[in-house]
Symmetry: C2
Subunit: 375 residues, 2 copies
Amino acid sequence: VEPQLPFQTVRPTPEHDALVILDQTLLPEREEERTLETLEEMAEAIRLLRVRGAPLLGVFGAWALAVLAERARTGEIGDSKGLLSHLREAASTLEETRPTAVNLAWALERMLRVAESVVSREGDAAAVSAALLAEARAIHHQDREMCRRMGEHALTLLGDDDAPLTLMTHCNAGALATGGMGSALSPVYLAHDGGRKVRVFADETRPLLQGSRLTAWELTRSGVEVTVVTDGMGAPLLRRGEVDAVVVGSDRIAANGDVANKIGTYGLALLAREHGVPFYVLAPTSTVDLECADGDAIPIEERDPEEVREGFGRRTAPEGAAVWNPAFDVTPARLVSAIVTEEGVVRPPFDEGLGDAVERARRTSEAARRENVAP
Amino acid sequence: VEPQLPFQTVRPTPEHDALVILDQTLLPEREEERTLETLEEMAEAIRLLRVRGAPLLGVFGAWALAVLAERARTGEIGDSKGLLSHLREAASTLEETRPTAVNLAWALERMLRVAESVVSREGDAAAVSAALLAEARAIHHQDREMCRRMGEHALTLLGDDDAPLTLMTHCNAGALATGGMGSALSPVYLAHDGGRKVRVFADETRPLLQGSRLTAWELTRSGVEVTVVTDGMGAPLLRRGEVDAVVVGSDRIAANGDVANKIGTYGLALLAREHGVPFYVLAPTSTVDLECADGDAIPIEERDPEEVREGFGRRTAPEGAAVWNPAFDVTPARLVSAIVTEEGVVRPPFDEGLGDAVERARRTSEAARRENVAP
């Protein structure tokens, strides 16, 4: 049984003609949903970070294509080949919104393969749309499952079930970043649900404050004790010796175990090592990109300087000052104590273990597919 | 000759009946002065950080007592003993505003000693006030001198005069933090003034953003190239290998070289060492507290959680979340490459060198005093 969270990050309307998201830009002040109908609204929702978090972007992308297919089919595009070409364009627009997270591209590609397969078997537009809705539902369900399994595997690293647990995390790799109960925060919810005393330190994560705005919000909303610190407080906090482990998510993991994640992760990993605190990365295998040999091959998105200059609605840096605003950094594999995927715990050196995990996940997924599409 | 800065942080009115400060809480949006007449306004200006920066608090405290003496003398307190007791109370109120910075207490005590000395020589209230005005002027002048000398000593560590220079700094230890051109930023202004190409990376310094609001403002205002980064970007920035050195100020330095400074400094020092970048602390000898054997003896001010939760007029963390908000941290001496005071460069191990520097400063100051008060 899985802990029930008191909010939903993304869902289709009952008619499958629109997506409903929890607008994350309004948190923590307002808990407000927003309905997205068009490709432009969906792409904008990603760009403006109304919806964000690598695994959730995958789930969102899948639902987006399913909804767009259903809308096109019941609208102007009646034939399956026209629909496929429409979906390819939509996928390409969605994929271009954010270059670092690999899950979005992964989900979009998976959806397109399903559509192609239906078209190649001469299915009509209705069949394409139905298959895409089923695939999006499967991706969402798998994401929930992956969160739970990551949490269970991670708890094997986090000591006795009865002992109080204090974790530190960066950015938001929680329920708001996935279709389930989160990657980095999944052991938190599982442990809390099991009656264990859990405390989380969330660093703010400038410039967009996903730690204080989102992680602190979802934990508070779910009854978990959380303390917010600014990004510069990590070192003295870790020095106090109260933190059992640092847990973070990832936007892309290279074949050698280098981890791209929200800016600030690399520094925190160095501080964790300096203070003898384990540093765990929790991410589904869809985050692992075996095509990237190491972190140097991962593209790093640079975002608008205004996010830093005027992020609080008030100018906080003079106009004449330049700003460097990379959205992510790369933590070298040597600083990572373990990578936890839905397939289990991978320890350094990561090369072999990550390849194995990806392969196991592929086989599981293939087996599920054969079962579903059996003649 | 000293670089001329286009703004003044604190000055008395020509009649010496009020203080005029640049209100630092309004930067970088507005460059606006504020006039302070009463003890309450002066204490509030410190508490609200309208005036801040350890050396500037010393200069401000000195001018505050001088102005309060002049106001009391021309107001209700005509006798010198009554005036002295009035000043002692004022000093105690001012000193209690901020517990970590030692310069404020140092300057207030120095001013009281001058007042006591005049009273013990049977000087009247006018003589007390005149002596205090002269002493405040001397403290301000010495602070300017100390800034220049710190800058000159620091430049001996920063390579060839013709080579481009790239520094990173934390918080604000610039002209806005002193009565002169700053501690950490003094080599920046000297090098820039000498025609050297200088570039500064300023980290934001949450929660109060002294880096982006103040350091970036004063450098931009003075024509120095500055790039703002968030606190979490220090690690990838230092990894790029462009930064020649990290320079910071200090609020208190223990006898063994442990350095209390704005929260975030300790983490940055660790990151600098990890990337082989020298970490220099620039601070006047008045910052050195030989009474504190090491950093554990330095009291660390914890500030209002609302600074983190709602720092910029917009709620950025949910009400249910706790906040830890220490204003300072302690960087252990082993991470400090050198401490630069007005008396020169002190290298590790710091114990002996710091004691010597303090002693040299004391002798210089005694000599100056004997010269001034010669019969």
